[in-house]
Symmetry: C2
Subunit: 206 residues, 2 copies
């Protein structure tokens, strides 16, 4: 498949969310113009984004909301459930484990790990926090698609290495470090400091 820009993928994900809203409201067709208005972009952008994957609309009419939802789910790989391991049972890990939006969108947390003896064995939202030393043995038995790293910054790379060794190909990282992984593993880092500093820059240079 032709290389698709990350910005395009992010917009597709946004479009999907808007289309789901439209679907709930009983709207059956939508034009690129309407979709663009909802998402703060342009109709040409919407059409171009979609055109990388096929032609899903009807000229003169627009797109069938239901059909486009299906197509986008397919393109984004959302026709299935992803099994997620949470590594680190701290403050952020706790918020994420309790977050319903996760499962709602097909990402199911199936295991939680921590090194802290005080946390291991505790029940968390129906799951038991496991000792991080058991990461390898536990994940040999059950498939995990995505690892979420919410450990302190100084253990994040080590945790990532172990996940890679276990064959995990996708990592969502909250530790404020730049992780090094092989080319076939994809990492997304959510770096709060970076977001805040972008705001700081914007506030300063106006």
């Amino acid at each position: 498949m032709r290389k698709i820009a990350e910005s395009t993928v992010r917009r597709l994900s946004l479009y999907l969310r808007f289309l789901e809203e439209f679907e709930e409201q009983g709207i059956e067709t939508v034009s690129s113009e309407a979709l663009a208005a909802r998402g703060g972009t342009t109709s040409a952008q919407v059409r171009k984004d979609l055109s990388f994957f096929g032609s899903f609309g009807k000229r003169g009419l627009g797109y069938s909301v239901q059909e486009l939802v299906q197509k986008l789910r397919g393109i984004l790989g959302l026709g299935r459930t992803y099994r997620v391991a949470m590594i680190g049972a701290g403050k952020i890990g706790s918020a994420l484990v309790q977050y319903r939006g996760f499962k709602q969108r097909g990402f199911e947390i199936v295991a939680i790990f921590d090194t802290d003896a005080a946390k291991v064995g505790r029940g968390w939202n129906g799951l038991t926090v496991q000792d991080a030393r058991e990461l390898e043995s536990a994940l040999r038995d059950q498939r995990v698609d995505i690892a979420v790293i919410v450990t302190p910054a100084d253990s994040a790379q080590n945790v990532a290495d172990r996940c890679v060794a276990l064959g995990i190909k996708a990592v969502l990282n909250f530790a404020p470090v730049q992780l090094t992984v092989p080319d076939d593993v994809v990492v997304k880092t959510v770096n709060l400091a970076l977001e805040l500093e972008t705001l700081s820059y914007a506030l300063t240079n106006r």
Copy 2:
């Protein structure tokens, strides 16, 4: 000032973090090559990014770590403390309020608001959760530079509108909605679903 790309600002923020590491390690000068290697980019990119703001290096030698840290702090507007209001005292709000990295980098939480009577009045990390109805009166008395919105999605726009009315010019939003604000207000949205779906796309299309 000439328009600077957001990608450039984000990289400057990353460079700053790496430079601070170098500083701690007692490294005094660094070349664009070394900085690039640390951050997964290229030396030309580093030099170009910096060149938008001036010339900070010495040919043949590289950059003084200490001096570049100062310059970047200045460029990013980090020579001061920002006063932050947390709106929503739920799971994510709780994690953020307890997060030390926030204050460490100059972002000080000075107020927390919630609508839930069970939470109002409780002490949170040295602050008292205030009734969200008091947002206007409370923030008229004390300056707030940045609002962090961690309320459910369906109240996020309303909260944003109230913040805008109070003159707040920067918002960090965790609710999975696209906020509408005037041009002179800057919003950064951290959308977990989007990040996960980017991973899903990457896992699917390989």
